[in-house]
Symmetry: C2
Subunit: 239 residues, 2 copies
Amino acid sequence: MVSTSALAETAAALGEPARVAMLGALMDGRALTAGELAAVAGVAPTTASGHLSRLLEAGLLAVERQGRHRYHRLASPEVARVLEGLMALSAARPAPRRALRTGPRDAALREARTCYDHLAGRLAVGMADAMVARGQIQLSPDGGALTDAGADFLQGLGVPVPVARGRPFCRPCLDWSERRPHLAGALGAALCLRCLDLGWMRRVPASRALDVTPAGRLGLRQAFGLDRADQSSTISAAR
Amino acid sequence: MVSTSALAETAAALGEPARVAMLGALMDGRALTAGELAAVAGVAPTTASGHLSRLLEAGLLAVERQGRHRYHRLASPEVARVLEGLMALSAARPAPRRALRTGPRDAALREARTCYDHLAGRLAVGMADAMVARGQIQLSPDGGALTDAGADFLQGLGVPVPVARGRPFCRPCLDWSERRPHLAGALGAALCLRCLDLGWMRRVPASRALDVTPAGRLGLRQAFGLDRADQSSTISAAR
DNA sequence: GGGATGCTTCGGTGGCGCCCGTAGCATGGG
DNA sequence: CCCATGCTACGGGCGCCACCGAAGCATCCC
């Protein structure tokens, strides 16, 4: 059996916190330099260089030279999907010991973030829930579908509904913080892009977190009926 | 960030050939004893025991005691999905060195095998292709859908079409040997079960491979138009 | 050209973990 | 009751790898 050892090699490349931190920083689909990734992982540039070559060799990263910088990005959306899956698997484990403390940064991530090319977090799950409740989309572990009502709704929002060969372009993705599905796939990507274009949310630099603007709060309430039970992100779990 | 290190821990549990071999043996959804898994991985029982406790702690396996045996199985279908994803990612890498030699066992696996609860391999990809060509299903990277014609077709085969809340219960799954999608999800599982019930194929003991019976060859030709370009599995790639 | 910046290679240190044999605990059969 | 079987701790040997500092190469700015 040839494939098993190849799988182990790939998995081993993911079995190191520093490397996972780097990949996590690239989960928003952008490309970062080796120096930035070193800072993210909290290791010396020389160590980061080693990690990056290993990830490169494992086929998880792609690199592009620009002047004296080397920009690294995920090799493909499939890599992001596998990472999502591993995240869900890891989060599924019974809480390790006394619940780890949750920083403000975690709180922001739980509220709204990007998941490679689409939205995730409490906000995204709420949006998906609203669309399901209104019969605009259907979601199951095996797939998703956009109804006619849903197509009308998205057209009203100015979301360019992607045209796939067949019908399906709507994929569920298990949210690691909420443990419930949100909207992914081509449709999720288009919706995410539109929200950013509308100025409803902005990327937080050097993070996957998203900041919802006042206009976004208004728009989300009108379009999705989300009332944003706004828990201040200064909450920090005791213990 | 709490989740990154948890992900690394899970991935590290997968980063060892012996453990991957064990998980691979469980990919058909059955439960095996620690001794059997040790043989599969080619390590001493004592070593296997350590691996198994680590996989257990990582939440990748579930165990059930029966008398003096301990039966291990994958903790959930999600684990199988992540493994599939990693397999596809690993296979995507440019061929390592001079193409590794391919044994008869690999050939059988490439032809037909189970992928947790559904069919995979050249045969399964052919079945999916046939159904797509006839407009019975639609497949895209984001999802799949069963058409009315497809529902009729499956009913004729005696496949109990699973009834999900919404429509979708049809999921594509990237075949690691063919690098093209086959049919997974609830629908893929139902189809696989029916093929086994019909006696079209049989499980090969201690392997994920499937053996197509003469009745199966006939049935597959009639139902799917598959002509089974039967390459004898004794072929072994030169070099 | 001189110097700064970004990144990599090299060498050395320390630690984690894979592996096994031996020994010990539980279960089931004779 | 005793032995065989299945599996799990324990201890030691060994190799791989994460980490860093120093040095070297490439690129860009002044």
